[in-house]
């Protein structure tokens, strides 16, 4: 029973404000549990669904975030060729107790579900009708991949003063796969501690968050990074782990398949790949050195998981 409850808590929920006449579409998508307006809850239950009533007040009290996506901004001059990514992971980890609400446009539902799952976020998603099949397939994938959450692995400590400035730094650190966790004070066990306003990381420098993230990267050095991703600038990773087990979550924000991703992890692991929407996915070209593990992901759609086991 407790395992079932845990599963229900971790998987993103569907908010559906349509009448039970649309039940067949949900059934086809494999959806059995959903959030509905309070006045429709009874009808949905009568239709055989595990329907949770969501009152208007509760709904409006949820923290609304934009759907994840990539903006190419080809017409904007920039120091980098990398596209802009609207990602929510940093928000989810900054406020872990919150309940979130999203309205992803058609085509973005699967990624939104995967993003919430990857960051252990309690999220309710209003899915476009045309997106139900993809959302349903992603939920099925997430169910099979579900496990008890593990803490984030990071070697950068970031002191959060609650400011918008730190928020944007978090966004850019996550965007550049510089794995950090929020700490109340510098932790000597971490490779780098970042306190905006310190001599090493002046407040003025943080006013350009992209350059600031580059400064953090420079101070940490690439060799010490826990995660490197080569071959794509639209994939963001999250690494969690406990004891000998770890899990790498990879989120592809591009809205289309990415082929041939190369991953470098600091530490020695053996890994197993699961990629949503791709049959018989397997890691390729694995390489183990004294200090790092590398492998290639042949292809991934919105989401892939690499389950890792530490090697001596």
């Amino acid at each position: 029973m407790s395992a079932l409850v845990l599963l229900a808590v971790l998987l993103p929920g569907l908010f559906w404000n349509k009448d039970p006449e649309t039940a067949s579409a949900l059934k086809q998508a494999g959806i059995e549990r959903l959030y509905v307006p309070a006045e429709k809850a009874a009808a949905w239950r009568a239709a055989g669904f595990n329907a949770v009533a969501l009152g208007a007040a509760t709904l409006s009290g949820l923290e609304k975030v934009d759907a994840p996506r990539v903006e190419w901004k080809m017409d904007v001059a920039s120091a980098t060729r990398a596209p802009w990514i609207d990602a929510n992971g940093w928000r989810f980890t900054r406020q872990p107790g919150r309940r979130w609400y999203e309205e992803p446009p058609n085509g973005a539902g699967a990624l939104a579900a995967a993003e919430a799952f990857a960051y252990d976020a309690d999220a309710i998603l209003r899915i476009a009708p045309g997106d139900l099949p993809a959302f349903g397939r992603m939920l099925e994938f997430l169910k099979r991949a579900d496990q008890a959450p593990m803490p984030a692995l990071a070697n950068i400590g970031l002191i959060d003063d609650g400011s918008d400035l730190v928020a944007e730094v978090m966004n850019l650190l996550a965007r550049k796969n510089l794995l950090y966790r929020i700490v109340p004070a510098p932790e000597p066990s971490l490779d780098l501690n970042v306190r905006i306003g310190s001599r090493e990381f002046p407040r003025q420098a943080a006013e350009d968050p992209g350059a600031f993230a580059s400064l953090v990267r420079q101070r940490l050095t690439d060799d010490k990074r826990l995660l490197r991703i080569y071959g794509s600038d639209v994939v963001i990773g999250r690494l969690t782990g406990q004891g000998p087990r770890a899990r790498l979550h990879l989120l592809n924000y591009a809205g289309r398949e990415v082929q041939g991703l190369r991953v470098r992890l600091r530490g020695r692991y053996k890994g197993t790949l699961r990629a949503a929407g791709i049959e018989r996915a397997a890691l390729e070209d694995s390489l183990l050195t004294r200090e790092a593990t590398e492998f290639s992901i042949p292809a991934m759609m919105a989401y892939a998981i690499v389950d890792l086991e530490a090697l001596p």
Binding site: A79, G231, R262
Partner: protein, 374 residues
């Protein structure tokens, strides 16, 4: 084979380019050792055979004459090797067991590319020395560029036409264990990986570049075609008005096994581009040297190319490829239409830099040229 990591520090850079302290730190990773005699500069360092033929291409129609091309290539190979027979000359480089990659240049296609008649003649000679059609690969990085040429119409069935990066942006066609790691502008992806067929399949490579001006590297010839044409993620070397082609081209070209396996340079100068390269959309910047150059030393050929392009530019009243005047550098589309505007501070010094890496001879006084006029 044991994994080897070569830390190829830019040892020549401080000596040659001491005033420029922006030489990046390159880390070259390869599991391949250098051959006892690497293909570049090969058995003929500092030696270039230049063959000219007025009837090799018709300027108005831009149609090449396959018969003349055949004679140009035969003459060139004979002069390069000293053999009296073309087949014997080709046998100096290739044997039936070889798997040969023919590295064409299609970045300017369909306006300018490795001429199909030249590529077809190369293939014919490989077949003549016993290399099976299925062991010959005409290859380039991008499928759309290859398809726009249609080499398959010019070569026998069975010869393979291969695009490395399919689809564009995918790194599956590159060897994950052979790469140059460098941060040029603080980019996130710091690796450029070698084309997988070069690492895993080809035993020999023939490099078939064009004679072209290049907005970033000054000119693009043997070195640029073999370097940027065989590695992923190379466009990152230009940003704003700065380009790192000065050091990046030679560094890439020197990576094993590319350096050892590239055994023959055949520069296609039937047609050339004196401004607006490498893509060369405007016909007014194309010209017709009606010339081919043969050698094993890419630096020596490119050194001659520098003068060919720069002399043509001077004749047309354009600024030199060596011009570094800030007032002539303008970002945006102006470069492709105006030969007195630079898109970047050009780096024709990349050829001399490559010489410093041991890829060939740069000093004109030490380059021996055999001129043949058909």
């Amino acid at each position: 084979m044991r994994r080897r990591i070569f830390l190829q520090l830019p040892a020549v850079a401080p000596l040659l380019f001491g005033r420029d302290n922006s030489v990046p730190t390159y880390r070259v990773v390869s599991r391949y050792a250098r051959a006892e005699r690497p293909g570049m500069p090969g058995p003929h360092p500092g030696f270039v055979v230049s063959v000219r033929a007025g009837k090799s291409i018709e300027s108005d129609s831009e149609k090449a004459d396959a018969g003349v091309v055949r004679e140009m290539i035969a003459s060139g190979l004979r002069a390069l090797t000293g053999e009296s027979d073309a087949r014997a000359a080709w046998s100096r480089f290739f044997s039936p067991s070889d798997v040969v990659g023919v590295k064409v240049n299609c970045s300017g296609a369909p306006n300018i590319m490795s001429t199909p008649e030249i590529v077809a003649e190369i293939v014919r000679n490989l077949l003549a020395v016993g290399v099976k059609a299925s062991q010959i690969y005409i290859y380039e990085r991008f499928l759309d560029q290859l398809q726009s040429v249609g080499y398959e119409r010019h070569v026998p069935e069975g010869v393979r036409i291969l695009a490395v990066e399919t689809p564009r942006g995918s790194i599956r066609g590159y060897d994950p264990s052979t790469y140059v790691e460098v941060s040029l502008f603080g980019e996130e992806d710091t690796r450029s990986n070698l084309a997988r067929p070069v690492a895993e399949r080809f035993t020999k490579i023939i490099n078939v570049p064009n004679m072209k001006d290049h907005g970033a590297s000054g000119v693009t010839g043997c070195l640029k075609n073999i370097a940027y044409g065989n590695f992923s993620n190379v466009a990152r070397s230009h940003n704003q008005e700065k380009t790192h082609t000065l050091t990046f081209i030679g560094t890439l070209a020197a990576v094993e096994p590319l350096r050892s396996r590239t055994v023959l340079q055949i520069m296609d100068g039937l047609k050339g581009v004196w401004h607006g390269g490498p893509f060369a959309p405007l016909k007014k910047f194309r010209f017709f040297p009606k010339q081919m150059m043969f050698g094993t030393d890419p630096v020596a050929i490119d050194r001659l190319l520098l003068d060919i392009i720069d002399n043509k530019r001077k004749a047309e009243g354009a600024i030199s490829v060596w011009d570094r005047s800030p007032e002539n550098v303008k970002p945006g589309p102006f470069y492709s239409e105006n030969p007195n505007i630079n898109r970047y501070f050009r780096e024709p010094g990349h050829i001399e830099y490559a010489a410093g890496l041991g890829l060939g001879i740069y000093d004109l006084k030490k380059i021996r040229i055999k001129e043949i006029q058909l």
